[in-house]
């Protein structure tokens, strides 16, 4: 049942030109970035680093910055993907269809989450094609590449859960998008002042989406970072479920 709702959500995304536009623009920007990064590497870094033992390779100098930017771009576009998910169903009164069907609210929210996550995975696959093309000329650090992709996947999962919750709060998709963007931005930059304080900064640093993402880009796969994303995602999914349940109670 979750899968039925997920596939519908995914197909719905592709019914509007928005999803196509997002995929196309992102691919264009990332490809340009990838090529310029590669160019810089070939002309500047490769001659200097040649012969140095343990120097950073192409994965560190091309793929990591690419994924870093991709993470930030995902933050910018994910509100546009999640904004309609629940808010439009509320506005068009189609949520009734799901609520009167023999489907639980948990299945509805998880189905929608899965659908959006599948869209992000398609996006990531297209993104992964760029570094993978380098295999034709060189070898990459597969571990680092996979860690980076996993980081991006976890990051987009968190974006999806947060966006979904925000979408359940309002009947206006645009309001959902703006508030999602605001919250994501806040979580992204929350550690910027961490140089100053001492006690609070630790907490802020932990809360930041970026610090945990950066760890993955370095090829560091720690349960601490994994747990952070899983916690964040499930907290917002539970909030989304609670929110829809609450609507049933208060009308």
């Amino acid at each position: 049942m979750i899968l039925t709702i997920a596939l519908r959500e995914l197909k719905n995304l592709f019914l509007s030109p928005l999803a196509w536009a997002i995929l196309a623009m992102l691919q264009l920007v990332m490809a340009f970035l990838f090529l310029s990064q590669l160019d810089t590497y070939l002309s500047t870094w490769q001659p200097r680093l040649a012969g140095i033992e343990g120097a950073p390779g192409v994965t560190d100098l091309v793929v990591a910055p690419l994924f870093q930017t991709a993470g930030f771009l995902l933050l910018l576009i994910s509100p546009a993907i999640t904004m309609r998910s629940i808010s439009e169903e509320q506005r068009n009164r189609t949520l009734t269809l799901l609520l009167s069907a023999p489907v639980s609210i948990r299945e509805i929210v998880l189905g929608k989450f899965l659908g959006i996550t599948l869209f992000f995975l398609i996006l990531l696959l297209m993104l992964a094609a760029m570094p993978l093309s380098l295999y034709s000329g060189t070898t990459l650090d597969a571990g680092k590449l996979l860690a980076g992709l996993l980081g991006l996947a976890l990051l987009s999962g968190a974006f999806a859960a947060i966006g979904l919750f925000m979408s359940s709060l309002t009947e206006q998709p645009v309001v959902a998008a703006i508030s999602t963007l605001g919250l994501l931005m806040l979580l992204w930059i929350i550690d910027w002042n961490s140089a100053g304080g001492e006690n609070i900064s630790g907490l802020f640093q932990y809360l930041s989406l970026k610090t945990h993402f950066n760890a993955f880009l370095k090829g560091l796969f720690s349960t601490r970072d994994l747990a952070y994303y899983l916690l964040l995602t499930s907290v917002f999914l539970i909030l989304g479920i609670r929110r829809l349940d609450q609507k049933r109670l208060t009308g």
Partner: protein, 323 residues
């Protein structure tokens, strides 16, 4: 208020006990009881904002009741919502259709949501489309269909999985007279095997399709009877008389078989009688006096009058209570 159907020995499809719903401090539905058995078409009447839709939303699990119990096919909707909902087909006030989908895509999604097995899905969709007259628009986008067609897609969605109970909230809104007749026919046909709850503002519709009538006003059930009982009650004991010449009090008093008369104008009156219809004798008497009979007809009490009486009187009472 007592449950309306006691004589039915067959199983009960919907049983609602002491159902109440508050919106904040406002009581929208006030301790309603009723039951629905297979083969019954229950007409749900009431003025706007009386609590019809709220009651329907609670029965279909879209809204949680503040108090009371709802059982669908013997399954409590709060304890086992999924099992209970599987027995319901629901058309809300606004048909829950996705404008971006074609009729086929939409119905396929609905069938999946209701766990219609892959083997039966095509057949179920075709049957629903045929019943609702949608075969010609299978591949059209729902957003491009007229309101009437969208309404029919909504009905198709409600009967798609062949549920035991079909709940239709104003199903004929926005349809043309031909379509309305088709939908009534469909409701009657469905009513033979299913239990149906139908809410509407159109009173003749209730008389045409329903086996039971309930009037709800300000959250309370003020009237609930079977159509047969109602029809018995609606048998008139009033004649309306109109003559060419003015009617004198003397003539009115002496009309045969009439218990009491009530003037409506100089040459028009209502005649109340208790046993046999005295129309023949009255006509003869008028002719005798040379008054010139213009009209003599039974003043049929319609459902509309019952409705107005019940819903307006109550309004009156509550304003008095409040004062």
């Amino acid at each position: 208020m007592e449950p309306i159907i006691k004589h039915m020995e067959s199983k009960i499809l919907i049983s609602v006990e002491q159902l109440s719903r508050y919106y904040g401090h406002q009581l929208a539905v006030d301790h309603i009881d009723f039951t629905l058995s297979p083969g019954e078409v229950l007409g749900f009447l009431g003025p706007n904002g009386a609590g019809k839709s709220t009651t329907m939303q609670m029965i279909t699990g879209n809204l949680a009741p503040s108090e009371g119990r709802i059982q669908i096919n013997g399954i409590d909707i709060l304890d086992q919502p999924r099992l209970a909902k599987a027995n319901i087909g629901y058309l809300p006030e606004q048909p829950p259709v996705y404008r971006d989908l074609t009729v086929d895509e939409y119905l396929d999604y609905c069938a999946r949501l209701h766990r219609v097995s892959a083997a039966q899905r095509g057949q179920a969709i075709n049957r629903a489309k045929r019943r609702c007259g949608l075969l010609a628009v299978s591949r059209r986008l729902i957003g491009n269909l007229s309101k009437g067609y969208r309404q029919r897609v909504g009905i198709a969605q409600a009967i798609l999985h062949n549920p035991a109970v079909v709940i239709l909230d104003e199903p004929t809104v926005g349809l043309d007279p031909n379509q309305i007749r088709e939908i009534r026919e469909l409701v009657r046909e469905l009513g033979e095997t299913h239990g149906i709850i139908l809410s509407t503002h159109i009173l003749p519709e209730v008389q045409a399709t329903c086996t039971h009538v309930q009037i709800i006003n300000e959250g309370r059930l003020v009237f609930s009877q079977s159509m047969q009982e109602l029809e018995k009650q609606l048998v008139s004991h009033v004649l309306v008389l109109e003559t060419r010449e003015p009617l004198t009090d003397e003539v009115l008093e002496k009309l045969p078989g009439v218990d009491r008369s009530e003037r409506l104008g100089p040459s028009r009156a209502k005649l109340h009688f208790s046993e046999k219809n005295p129309a023949g004798a009255v006509a003869a008497s008028i002719a005798e006096h040379g008054l010139g009979l213009v009209e003599l007809a039974l003043d049929r009490q319609t459902l509309e009058q019952v409705f107005v009486e019940l819903t307006c009187r109550d309004e009156h009472l509550t304003t008095e209570d409040a004062a």
